[in-house]
């Protein structure tokens, strides 16, 4: 589904991603783990083409997307949920969802407003409220729903558990598992190993923009030194 090879990204002269390569299979949920500043968000943005990688390539479902504008990547079925959520706060919830709407796509679950409101019941109650009147958890639900309106094949979730109440984190985990069951491929970036283990099949650990580990959680369990070196516990 996604093949990242030798990706290098920069902010100005600062080298953020260093020859990063990994693969994601169809239907898989992969957790991108690492500390603050490890390059998780930059990886997500480089996949979405919001940051232009200087070298390397990203093949998404057979198409090379490196160098394409972000909207083209989105139209190929790449869905992006940013860390800062970036709700359109002047728009109502329904309008926010409308911005994300794209045609149904072959090989991806097709979402309707009804299905999304069933998935996130809170949003239905507040559908005509403006984005700015929402709690952090509700905003997180809304960004996910907004991206799902584009019927993506692959969902990029940047730190979905950050800054929301523990109760909502659990709800979020259930949601991600459901999305997986619907047949969606997901990459989530996380600092929270516990949360990642609940939802993901596999872990990719990065530090300083380089890949340090790629394997299942049981494998990671066998190497506590890796966890101690690259993840904050």
């Amino acid at each position: 589904m996604l093949e990242v090879s030798a990706l290098n990204s920069f902010y100005g002269k600062a080298h953020i991603l260093n020859d990063l390569s990994f693969k994601v299979e169809r239907g898989e949920v992969v957790a991108l783990l690492g500390r603050n500043g490890a390059g998780k968000t930059t990886t997500m943005k480089s996949l979405m083409q919001l940051v232009r990688p200087r070298s390397g390539q990203v093949i998404f479902d057979g198409t090379r997307i490196t160098g394409l504008p972000a909207h083209k990547a989105a139209r190929l079925g790449l869905g992006y949920v940013p860390e800062e959520r970036r709700i359109f706060s002047d728009l109502t919830i329904l309008e926010n969802l409308e911005v994300g709407r794209q045609r149904p796509r072959e090989g991806a679950p097709a979402w309707t407003l009804e299905a999304l409101f069933e998935l996130f019941p809170n949003l239905w109650e507040r559908r005509n409220n403006r984005g700015k009147a929402m709690s952090g958890g509700e905003q997180q639900m809304l960004t996910i729903a907004r991206t799902l309106m584009g019927n993506p094949k692959l969902l990029l979730l940047d730190e979905p558990s950050e800054g929301i109440a523990p109760v909502i984190v659990e709800q979020m985990a259930r949601t991600i598992v459901r999305l997986k069951n619907e047949g969606l491929t997901v990459i989530i970036s996380e600092q929270n190993l516990h949360f990642a283990r609940m939802v993901a099949d596999r872990a990719v650990i990065i530090e300083g923009g380089e890949k340090k580990f790629d394997g299942s959680f049981s494998e990671l369990e066998k190497h506590p030194e890796i966890r101690d070196a690259y993840l904050s516990v």
């Binding site: 002269k13 972000a70 359109f88 706060s89 309008e95 911005v99 994300g100």
Partner: protein
């Protein structure tokens, strides 16, 4: 006052609001999404009028008249699309100032193209078929066409409201106003969204130009004539708000009509006074939202660390000064007069460059202080019999005080609103001088303001100007390198950080604004005594824009940029004005510089020098 007259005037005001609203809503819409203040919007209005009048002369009858208006709107919209794609797309990520200057280049190009196509003569707008006569309302004649305009405006407002709030396009537009990148990440092609918005905004301007034809016709001045009113409207209403644009258009138009009747001496001033008052109470306009500085692409390449001159720089500067000091021995007195003009313009440009670049405050009304200083000296000489020397010293002080007052109002705002408010104040100053005949002589200016006998010789005055200009520029340079200059740059780069380190950001900016005003006033004083007279055009918008363009052409980032640019433009002007279509040439040069060489003359030379290894390259981390 008779009720009938009152009603009739109210109706005229409402009818005038129609065109103003169309143009202003277009500008507001474009600003909301692209964050570009399109100075060329008035030019689109002019194009709409010319295209409309041309079509009306060809197409007959009712259908021809109204069809021409709609077609003029569509054609103007397409022209807007061309402008967007060729000029603006390359500069969306550039700092604000660059975008403004680019659209200013577009104004110049369109002015000359219009002159080429439609000629210099004003075109009379045909009257609307079936609406040629007047209706008596309470005994007063009201043109039928005015009533038609009043009836049409709410429909346009409604249509726009519907488009923005109820359609998918409108939702996307509003979303893009907030976060363009996110809209793109959700699969929307922003480039086309921008182009679409530009089409709509331009079409509205064109429609405005065509719809006012029966009342005003088409002429080559209408672009600049409407643009300041449109800015006032958009700023009062709140940038990006259609409803705000509507209310403000009505307010300004009605006020204007009544102003003409009851306060004929203050028609020009009135509009700006209203704007200043509104901004004092609501800094972001009636329906505007707070604008964070640097929100839209003020991040360029980081500024280079400033350094004292090296040996090379010292030597070159000394050589230049020596050369200038020798001019009277070599050149004619004509050359001396020309160089004095250039020197004065250099000082004026340097003071603008200081506030613009070091201060990070994009002022659109800097001519107010230049003209202010000049008028202060002239008024003192004319009315108080002040000796010339005293008047000369008091001029920059008065300009500084004026800048202190104006700055107090303006510094509270930032970005576009700051620019607009400075523009408004300078227009206020200009209209005061222009209309206060008894004191300022109005359009006839103040004459016979000559320097004392010991200075009256051309060569003596040449040295006098050279000394003061050099001193002024060195002083500015010194300030930039002094702790005050550091504080100012800190305030520009990160107001919050600066505040946290104990810098009183407002105060530092306020003081620098006053300082820049005083230096501009010094330039104005040198000007008035070199010419012996002063006229209102010295503090007109175009004077402020000249300085902006000069600073821009020279290079925004270094003090020498303003000086080089001023020398270049003053020098080239003589040659340029001889060309029939000099505006076209200048406009194209400006657009070219913005897109290809945005560092200006000095920056480009510097880069070239670095590439050739003549200058040490500087490293910085971003």
């Amino acid at each position: 006052m008779a009720m009938g007259l009152f009603v009739a005037q109210l109706l005229t005001g409402l009818a005038n609001a129609a065109a103003l609203f169309l143009v202003a809503s277009g500008l507001s819409l474009i600003f909301g999404v692209t964050r570009i203040v399109n100075f060329a919007h008035g030019s689109l209005y002019m194009i709409g009028a010319y295209v409309g009048v041309t079509l009306m002369n060809v197409l007959p009858g009712h259908f021809g008249f109204w069809g021409s208006i709609v077609l003029a709107g569509l054609i103007t919209g397409l022209i807007g699309v061309v402008i967007e794609m060729c000029v603006l797309r390359p500069v969306y990520k550039a700092p604000e100032l660059f975008q403004l200057v680019a659209t200013f280049g577009v104004i110049l190009v369109i002015q000359d193209l219009a002159l080429m196509i439609w000629g210099a003569e004003d075109k009379l707008g045909p009257r609307a078929p079936g609406l040629k006569s007047v209706v008596r309302i309470l005994g007063e004649p009201v043109p039928q066409y005015d009533l038609a305009l009043i009836a049409i405006t709410p429909f346009i407002l409604f249509a726009l409201w519907w488009l923005i709030t109820k359609t998918r396009v409108g939702i996307l537009v509003r979303a893009a106003t907030q976060d363009r990148e996110m809209v793109g990440a959700l699969g929307v092609n922003q480039a086309w969204l921008f182009t679409g918005v530009f089409f709509l905004g331009s079409a509205l301007a064109g429609l405005g130009g065509a719809i006012q034809l029966p009342k005003g016709g088409a002429d080559l001045l209408m672009d600049l004539n409407i643009i300041s009113a449109v800015f006032v409207v958009v700023v009062i209403g709140g940038m990006g708000s259609i409803t705000g644009a509507f209310l403000a258009s009505v307010l300004i138009s009605v006020l204007n009509v009544f102003g003409v009747t009851y306060l004929p001496q203050s028609t020009l001033v009135l509009m700006y006074v209203v704007m200043a008052v509104v901004l004092l109470v609501r800094p972001y306009g009636l329906f505007g939202r707070e604008e964070k500085a640097g929100e839209h692409g003020q991040v360029g390449e980081p500024d280079r660390p400033i350094r004292p001159f090296g040996k090379m720089g010292m030597a070159l500067t000394s050589l230049l000064l020596l050369g200038l000091a020798l001019v009277p021995f070599l050149g004619s007195s004509f050359a001396q007069v020309l160089i004095v003009d250039i020197l004065i313009f250099c000082l004026f440009a340097a003071s603008l460059q200081f506030i613009l670049s070091t201060g990070g405050l994009v002022s659109f009304g800097h001519a107010l202080f230049y003209g202010g200083g000049a008028y202060a000296a002239a008024l003192l000489m004319s009315y108080a019999d002040t000796p010339m020397e005293v008047a000369f010293i008091l001029a920059p002080i008065s300009a500084g005080l004026l800048a202190l007052v104006v700055g107090w109002f303006c510094i509270r705002l930032s970005g576009v609103y700051f620019a607009m408010l400075t523009l408004a104040f300078s227009q206020l100053g200009w209209s005061l001088v222009f209309q206060w005949n008894e004191v300022t002589g109005g359009d006839d200016g103040l004459v016979n303001i000559w320097p004392s006998a010991w200075l009256s010789d051309t060569t003596t005055y040449y040295y006098f100007a050279l000394v003061f200009v050099t001193a002024g520029i060195l002083f500015l340079r010194h300030v930039i390198h002094a702790p005050f200059g550091y504080a100012l740059r800190a305030a520009r780069d990160s107001a919050r950080q600066a505040e946290a380190t104990g810098i009183d950001v407002r105060k530092v900016q306020w003081m620098s604004f006053a300082l820049a005003g005083a230096i501009a006033g010094l330039a104005g004083a040198l000007f008035v005594f070199s010419k012996g007279s002063i006229f209102p055009n010295e503090l007109q918008i175009s004077k402020s824009f000249d300085a902006l363009i000069v600073v821009f052409l020279g290079g925004v980032k270094t003090l020498s940029g303003g000086i080089v640019g001023a020398t270049f433009l003053e020098g080239a002007k003589d040659w340029l004005i001889r060309l029939e279509y000099w505006r076209l040439v200048l406009g194209l040069v400006i657009i070219f510089v913005v897109i290809i060489a945005p560092d200006g003359i000095v920056g480009t030379l510097r880069r070239l020098g670095e590439r050739l290894g003549l200058r040490r390259q500087e490293e910085f981390m971003r």
